[in-house]
């Protein structure tokens, strides 16, 4: 159980005309090798941004990482310069993105785009690279890989593109694969396939996977651990079991509530979280969720609750009233 990734109070800011967008606020957590971590939250809660910050792919300007450490096998990525970072990207940490439609370069063949990555990080000849590429395509289950190498992205279906993306991500056998909402843009059946694929690959290759999504359902099938993020901070984290069974944070409760469950007795209506997430430019001091929170007390509006571990299984919550909520026993 050795940690592969350790993030310490990561802060990312965007400096725009409308003011400073506080996208990631003091995010800290660790991730052990071979683990599948689900990062969950509404869109704009900073889950993608914190991942991009790790890869240092934040568009700069306007984005900036203002604070924090990202320890990846003994090195703080934030101290690396661009060249060293480039060696990390793709080889140690690979990333696949939300929209397979736009994430592949339309003017190069899929083969080229995979081979490119291969040649970049391992010293092999073009031929070997081609070989490897077609193996990869086979691996991610694209039939007729050999010929498909010479196809252009627009000749692929959405699902196939995402598979190709995954193949590209896996090409150098990274130790950590970050999947940023990889299935959101795909329809449900394809989603399922992709998820199975990833599971399978994880078994085979055993790399750690960070799966970013707003869809708790997906994570449930996949992840070992879950980070629930809200307004740029982690507000609850823990083993999947704990999160689902002993939900402690009102927001998570909301999230789960708004998720239809098979064991719902017919007629149970879905609870939905009223209102909108706060404006990241003008974050309220105090708990960011307070404004929408059903359990709000005055303290919430003034003091920001810290992330505290509430049991031996590093299940942590950032809420002043988690105990009372525990007492209430949700659902």
């Amino acid at each position: 159980m050795n940690p592969i990734l350790e993030i310490k109070n990561l802060k990312t800011r965007f400096y725009t005309q409308d003011g400073v967008v506080k996208a990631v606020n003091d995010v800290s957590y660790t991730m052990s090798s071979g683990e599948i971590l689900g990062v969950v939250g509404e869109s704009g809660c900073g889950k993608s941004v914190h991942a991009l910050s790790m890869m240092q792919l934040i568009p700069d300007p306007p984005g900036k990482i203002t604070n924090g450490e990202i320890w990846f096998d003994g090195r703080d990525l934030l101290t690396l310069n661009e060249d060293q970072m480039q060696k990390v990207r793709g080889r140690d940490i690979a990333m696949i993105f939300q929209d397979p439609m736009t994430s592949l370069n339309p003017v190069f063949t899929v083969g080229f785009q995979i081979v490119e990555a291969l040649l970049l990080h391992n010293d092999m000849t073009k031929e070997e690279a081609k070989e490897r590429a077609s193996d990869l395509l086979n691996l991610v289950g694209i039939p007729g890989a050999k010929q498909r190498l010479n196809d252009y992205p627009h000749q692929f279906s959405g699902g196939m593109r995402q598979r190709a993306m995954i193949a590209m991500g896996l090409s150098c056998e990274p130790r950590l694969l970050i999947a940023d909402e990889p299935t959101t843009a795909l329809d449900v059946t394809i989603q399922a396939q992709i998820i199975d694929l990833v599971k399978k690959l994880q078994d085979e290759l055993g790399m750690a996977i960070m799966w970013i999504t707003h869809d708790l359902g997906v994570v449930a099938e996949l992840a070992h651990t879950i980070n629930v993020m809200y307004a740029g901070s982690i507000i609850e984290t823990g083993k999947i079991r704990n999160i689902y069974k002993q939900t402690r944070h009102p927001y998570t409760i909301g999230l789960l509530g708004s998720l239809p469950r098979l064991d719902d007795s017919p007629g149970t209506e879905l609870v939905s979280i009223p209102g909108l997430p706060p404006d990241l430019v003008a974050l309220p001091e105090g708990c960011p969720f307070a404004a929408r929170c059903g359990y709000r007390i005055d303290q919430c509006l003034t003091e920001k609750p810290p992330l505290v571990e509430i049991d031996g299984e590093n299940h942590s919550v950032a809420c002043w009233r988690w105990e009372e909520i525990a007492g209430m026993g949700t659902k």
């Binding site: 965007f14 725009t16 005309q17 409308d18 568009p59 300007p61 306007p62 009223p274 209102g275 909108l276 706060p278 404006d279 430019v281 003008a282 309220p284 404004a291 929408r292 059903g294 359990y295 709000r296 009372e324 007492g327 209430m328």
Partner: protein, 409 residues
């Protein structure tokens, strides 16, 4: 600590940032950019100076002449030989160049506005309609209009040959019929045959009264017309025809075309405006069409269609407002290029009628005196042209950035 039951809890106001209107946003972005501000400054300076001078600083070019002051370099100090200050010097007829440059602005401004209005109006209309009907299927009325006009136009040849202009009615009728009975007889071929025969009749029969040959020629033409009309013409057809026309205009070098038009209309500022305007039409047509095509599939258009709003209403209520920003940008830049072309025409002596001050013409007159060192007579009108054009371009550039949501960060 007592349990609290959720019912008691009221959800307070949400901390959501107040949102500005698109235009408000745009304006803020505009004035926040230095270049745009510079552009605005120049434009305002140019517009106000020319307008004010036109109304409040009387100038009678007709009477302006003083041989004793010909081609004097800029001077600020009054001497006995030059009894007046000339900021920009004087020209060959001893006229104060500063004065003429300032008043020349008025002409350039007019040219710009009129020319752009012409291109914008016609180009915009063409582009809007072709873009719209290329994707939205025509209503019966629209189709009748299309077919009717096609028939009418084709009718002209036959009518002219037989010198019987009532044939236009026949052709129009044929067109209308073809438009109305789109699905007459199943089977394209049968329809084609019917209409071609009808067409042949309509133009051959009257022709017969002139001479058999006339009848023959007209008949053939009518045949062709019938065949054409029997095909289901639609918005695509219309759009294609229009765009081809635009291509044709576009494939002539702008100045040459403008020169030809001026040669045709005769010289003078007014004619110049028209020429430049016409040359500009395709640019606007194509732009408008492309932006229309870009938004035509947007949900709000589909929604409007689905609730059965009339096409006219859709065009004006939903399409037009949403394609405004690129048009605005193009118009601003169009003003610039119009001023530039006007100056070019003036330089070639096809611009304003003298002694009206006009920048291009002033250049064209004075550059012959360059070799004898009268740099001022050339420098200042040229600068005026360049700055005013630059001003509009800067402004347009700023507008693009301001109105383009893509660049919002």
């Amino acid at each position: 600590m007592a349990k609290i039951n959720p019912e008691e809890i009221t959800v307070t106001d949400f901390a959501v940032r107040e949102h500005r209107s698109l235009w408000g946003d745009a304006w803020r972005r505009l004035i926040s950019s230095n270049t745009a501000r510079l552009g605005m400054f120049i434009v305002v300076l140019f517009v106000s100076s020319s307008t004010l001078s036109h109304y409040f600083w009387k100038y009678e070019p007709k009477k302006d002449l003083d041989y004793s002051l010909k081609l004097k370099a800029p001077n600020l100090i009054i001497t006995e030989e030059i009894p007046s200050t000339h900021l920009f010097g004087t020209d060959k007829l001893g006229r104060d160049i500063f004065r003429r440059v300032v008043h020349g602005g008025w002409n350039s401004l007019r040219v710009g506005i009129v020319a752009v209005s012409i291109s914008l109006f016609f180009g915009g209309a063409v582009g809007l309609m072709s873009g719209f009907y290329e994707t939205v299927t025509m209503t019966m009325v629209e189709r009748l209009i299309l077919f009717g006009t096609t028939g009418f136009l084709l009718g002209f040849l036959s009518a002219w040959i037989a010198n019987q202009y009532f044939q236009l009615v026949l052709y129009t009728g044929l067109g209308l019929a073809a438009g109305y009975y789109q699905d007459l007889f199943k089977g394209k071929f049968l329809r084609m045959v019917t209409f071609s025969i009808l067409g042949a009749f309509f133009s051959a029969v009257p022709g017969l009264f002139i001479s058999p040959t006339v009848a023959l020629i007209c008949g053939l033409w009518g045949l062709f017309t019938g065949v054409l009309l029997s095909r289901p013409l639609d918005g695509k057809f219309f759009s294609n025809v229009m765009m081809r026309l635009m291509d044709i205009v576009l494939s002539f070098p702008g100045y040459l075309l403008a020169i030809a038009i001026v040669a045709f209309l005769g010289p003078g500022l007014g004619k110049g405006m028209i020429a430049i305007g016409v040359v500009g039409i395709p640019v606007y047509a194509r732009l408008t069409r492309s932006v229309v095509l870009a938004i035509i599939h947007k949900e709000y258009i589909l929604a409007a269609q689905s609730v059965g709003e009339s096409h006219g209403r859709i065009i004006f209520r939903h399409v037009t407002p949403n394609i405004l920003s690129p048009i605005i940008v193009q118009t601003t830049m169009g003003l610039a290029s119009a001023i530039l072309s006007a100056a070019a025409l003036g330089f070639l002596g096809l611009g304003a009628i003298p002694p009206e001050p006009e920048w291009g013409a002033m250049l064209g007159e004075s550059y012959r005196y360059l070799t004898s060192g009268a740099w001022w007579a050339v420098l200042f009108p040229g600068l005026a042209i360049m700055l005013s054009v630059l001003g509009f371009n800067l402004l347009g550039d700023g507008l693009r950035d301001a109105l383009d949501p893509k660049l919002r960060t």
